[in-house]
Symmetry: C3
Subunit: 211 residues, 3 copies
């Protein structure tokens, strides 16, 4: 019970931090308060919505638990009136976003496994849960997608999702597997934020023009 | 029966006006006739498709009633050959679009409620039905999203959807609730078009740089 | 049996060539290897995922057969280390892409018909299967959508899907219908590539300004 509540806390925290990044994108576009709520909701619930669609777990989670939407509304309204404070703490937000990424890649994978799909498909589902909210946010706000940035991002989700799935396949205790998956994903993302870690990029070589 | 036909008329009218805006976006991009049909269909049926996916009402509505696709084809072909006339009547189109927005936010909410979801989730579903067709159109056509424009748009959908849901929760007659929801949404959007009404925007304050 | 294996070969070949175009888009954006895999997977499985969602055939195909994801990973890794060779063979890739387009428009339509939907809706589903992977790729990579290019593309999918559906409605043998649909779509796309065939575009006329 306590464990489940802990998970729900993580879930709401994940929605909240992603919603906050959506609201901050809205502040950069100088939208109105409804625009803040709209972008916050799409970012907060987008990844989980896609996960539920792909699994066929319908209606999607926020239809069954509208409190997730309420969290997005509260966060969006709060940031509309305080973004001048929060945005000066953008560094803090990146860290909250790292928490969201780390919890979502593990929980998306866990929900896939609980739904009975293969570990490999569950890892893909976990990565999607962690990344697609941000993709929707960037596409709708007309900003460069997080996927195209130099910072390690998807790799951290891959590490968290695959380590969790691997541990579960070895019958490791679920709480331990969640904790390790979360810590690995968060640590990799944190290292990228602290030390500017990047992964090797594809570089065009001589004699070829890159469009 | 007459009431239901009236609703279906509203539904087809909504698809038709949104399809028309998609075809006009295609004319601005100077696409071929198949491109007109493609963008018209995505705009016309996109919001309702997302609604059905989220509710788990599958296959989606236009698979069960392909007449909705036929409406998009007819509208797209008509506009391909007459956009030089219609586009000079762009103002008229904005008014038709306002009719589509107003009817869709109410009908999306109604379908959600009929499907048994909570009023709060139904309002979210209604707003999505009314707005996502235009978002798909703008993203695929590479135009600035309607969400980022100065005009009141999503707020009108919010007003129509929430007033309809509120009236339904007070057991008001469905036809009256639909009519009031439609009128409120349409009037707010119409006022925005007539008088340039906007909502208060987030403004950055001193000492902070907005990207 | 042999026929089914042949179909599966076509299916995997379609995923593989679309995944290759996604990985090449990643090389143009100079992403890391995880970015290559991500864009390759979205492009390879995106159209089929949307098809399954719309039909309500859930979980989607790659959850049930993760080998499709594995194909995308292999292709993406291969191209990450060899894109300097492959991209100099971009013309070859366009031809492989034409094979993917031609096989997908027919197979998407076939899956729709097998699922019991109307021929008209099945044609729409087939066109979406063939085109949406590329749309997702272009939107996420921030490139101009294939829909907006001058080359014949969607029209080829329309030709393949509708000719296949027409032949099936006349009780033509399925293998023959598939072959003809494939050849028609591929030939039209090939002609566009070889001879620069385009379809008549909408042109603005006097006295009207095109945005």
């Amino acid at each position: 019970m306590i464990f489940l509540e802990h998970l729900h806390f993580l879930d709401f925290a994940g929605v909240a931090v992603f919603a906050a990044t959506g609201a901050l994108a809205a502040s950069r576009k100088q939208l109105d308060i409804v625009g803040f709520i709209f972008l916050a909701a799409i970012t907060g619930i987008g990844g989980g919505t896609l996960r539920d669609l792909i699994l066929g777990k319908l209606p999607v989670f926020w239809v069954q638990q509208p409190a997730f939407i309420a969290v997005c509304v509260v966060i969006a309204v709060g940031i509309f009136f305080s973004a001048h404070l929060v945005e000066s703490r953008y560094r803090l937000l990146l860290w909250l976003d790292a928490i969201g990424l780390a919890s979502y890649c593990v929980m998306g994978t866990m929900i896939g496994l609980e739904y009975g799909i293969s570990p490999f498909a569950a890892i893909v589902t976990g990565i999607m849960t962690a990344t697609f909210g941000g993709i929707f946010r960037d596409v709708i706000a007309g900003e460069k997608s997080v996927l195209l940035s130099d910072e390690i991002y998807i790799s951290a989700a891959l590490l968290g999702a695959s380590s969790f799935a691997l541990l579960m396949s070895f019958q490791v205790d679920k709480t331990i597997a969640i904790t390790i998956g979360f810590i690995l994903a968060f640590t990799l993302r944190a290292a990228a934020l602290l030390f500017g870690w990047t992964t090797p990029r594809y570089k065009s070589r001589k004699g070829r023009e890159v469009k």
